[in-house]
Symmetry: C2
Subunit: 306 residues, 2 copies
């Protein structure tokens, strides 16, 4: 049998990178040694911090695979976020916590649960298969769950995520709150990025009914620090709106310490933000109290009010 390539989505976040590393460990512990941990994009600062802390190499950067190769997908089941010739490779397994957007012509192993992080499902898989999770792997898994749930504070966080963090903290011998805050803060370091890079760090094209939108997000430990760049950010957003003929560009600056988001909203449909959250945009911006999750607290409410 040939190699099996394991990867998550393009524009990878910490969960996507770590899922690829952890799945490779899991498969090896099951006896499948010919697995290659891969990634479809650059590491972000947070992920760099984690890999450096644990002392593991990043997965191999790939753009594409030859037809007929075997793959395992983690943290996504969305062909739009994957390799161009996905239809011509053989998907052996999928482990994910997002919506189902993939079709196959053959049965496969598919494991998805509506939890906060892929690693929470991986934690269950190790347990179900009576496989030991060693200290390094536990630290990786813990990091991904902290990242996806913003230290268990995001509304996407479930009891299963909390339970996994509790158990993994013991194996990792880590105070997850202290470690997690350092990790999240490392991820907020945007000092080396251009305005365009900041706007694209975690940007998603989303249609809110008929409203063509981008909703982008950046995490920070200090909203005022990011807001210093407001006029440059707005210039960059207006350029992207024009280039993509958007109705709305919503940029969320999320305070991971206090769990609020400052929004900058531009475009002819920016008023949807006012309607959705009962706020008044002043100079294109407003504070959204308690809003941290794009998936749970932005997309549904914005769609409803679009």
């Amino acid at each position: 049998m040939g190699k099996i390539y394991i990867f998550g989505h393009k524009n990878p976040d910490t969960d996507s990178i770590i899922s690829s590393l952890v799945m490779a460990d899991f498969e090896k512990k099951l006896g499948n040694n010919d697995v290659v941990s891969c990634r479809l994009g650059m590491l972000n600062k947070e992920t760099e911090y984690v890999l450096n802390y644990v002392g593991v190499e990043a997965p191999e950067l790939i753009e594409d695979l030859e037809d007929g190769q075997e793959v395992i997908l983690v943290d996504t089941a969305n062909p739009g976020e994957l390799i161009p010739n996905l239809a011509n490779v053989k998907i052996r397994k999928i482990v994910d916590h997002h919506q189902v957007l993939i079709n196959t012509s053959y049965p496969l192993f598919y494991r998805a649960e509506p939890v906060g992080c892929t690693e929470t499902i991986m934690y269950k898989l190790y347990k179900e298969n009576n496989l030991k999770i060693d200290k390094k792997i536990a630290t990786l898994m813990l990091s991904a769950i902290i990242s996806d749930t913003l230290l268990l504070k995001s509304p996407t966080c479930t009891e299963d995520d909390k339970n996994a963090v509790k158990e993994l903290s013991k194996i990792a011998e880590l105070n997850y709150e202290t470690y997690g805050l350092e990790m999240l803060k490392a991820g907020t370091d945007i000092s080396s990025f251009t305005i365009d890079q900041i706007l694209n760090l975690d940007a998603k094209f989303i249609n809110l009914k008929e409203v063509k939108s981008i909703i982008a997000q950046v995490n920070t430990a200090s909203i005022p620090e990011v807001m210093k760049m407001k006029s440059d950010l707005e210039a960059g957003m207006n350029k992207i709106i024009k280039e993509n003929n958007l109705d709305l560009f919503m940029f969320l600056i999320t305070d991971i310490i206090n769990s609020n988001s400052q929004v900058i909203a531009l475009g002819q449909k920016a008023n949807i933000v006012e309607k959705a959250y009962g706020v008044k945009l002043e100079n294109n911006t407003a504070l959204l109290h308690g809003v941290v999750s794009r998936k749970k607290q932005v997309v549904p409410i914005m769609t409803e009010n679009a």
Copy 2:
């Protein structure tokens, strides 16, 4: 919270019906009492035998659901085999062993594995959740696995299926071979059916590349018994070919005791059968040695030779 409706595919086989009953038991044991076991079609003779043997009621027959209802899908992830307004209900869970043909706009619990039967996955779910399988449920699960794997002899059967049958036999206090053969034989009783009903018992529209086909199958303990009806079957097949503008109608009469199939092939592309299996059709028929599984031993080989 409202009711959750549990059902498998239209034209339900034993696995589909039993999965609906077993999933309801599983959910109740997890504490979700408001579940309704349903079915999208008539019971076949084999399933009737099982429900009668165990002494349980058939799931509720439904054709459709109101928009917004919550459902759990078992033994299928194929919208074409489900209710018309599937896009307007909320799918909570899917447990299946087929290809992935569904898309959702939200994350859900999805559990699929390439094993011989849905009940083999359900068996794992009970174990993973530390839930007790009682005797009646074990007998139901065992019956479904025997049905889908033809007493563990089908090439779709995996080690996981065999292991589940071994463990479930103990709980059910049953000799699975004796019981299973009786059950399979009960399912081969086609004496009360018209020719049209026999041809439609387990018929699938399948495109073999460009070749528009129906591949239908009937199980029997005696091929000659079914072949007595050959000229009537052929007349029925020719009628269906004409009505549906088919290139091929392949009717498999599968001997569940000896694991062979007699094929009757009609239509302008009947010669694909000769090419695929290296046989000569005489009076439109040939014996296919060792062929029992449409999924593994017919569709792929016929597609390759189409």
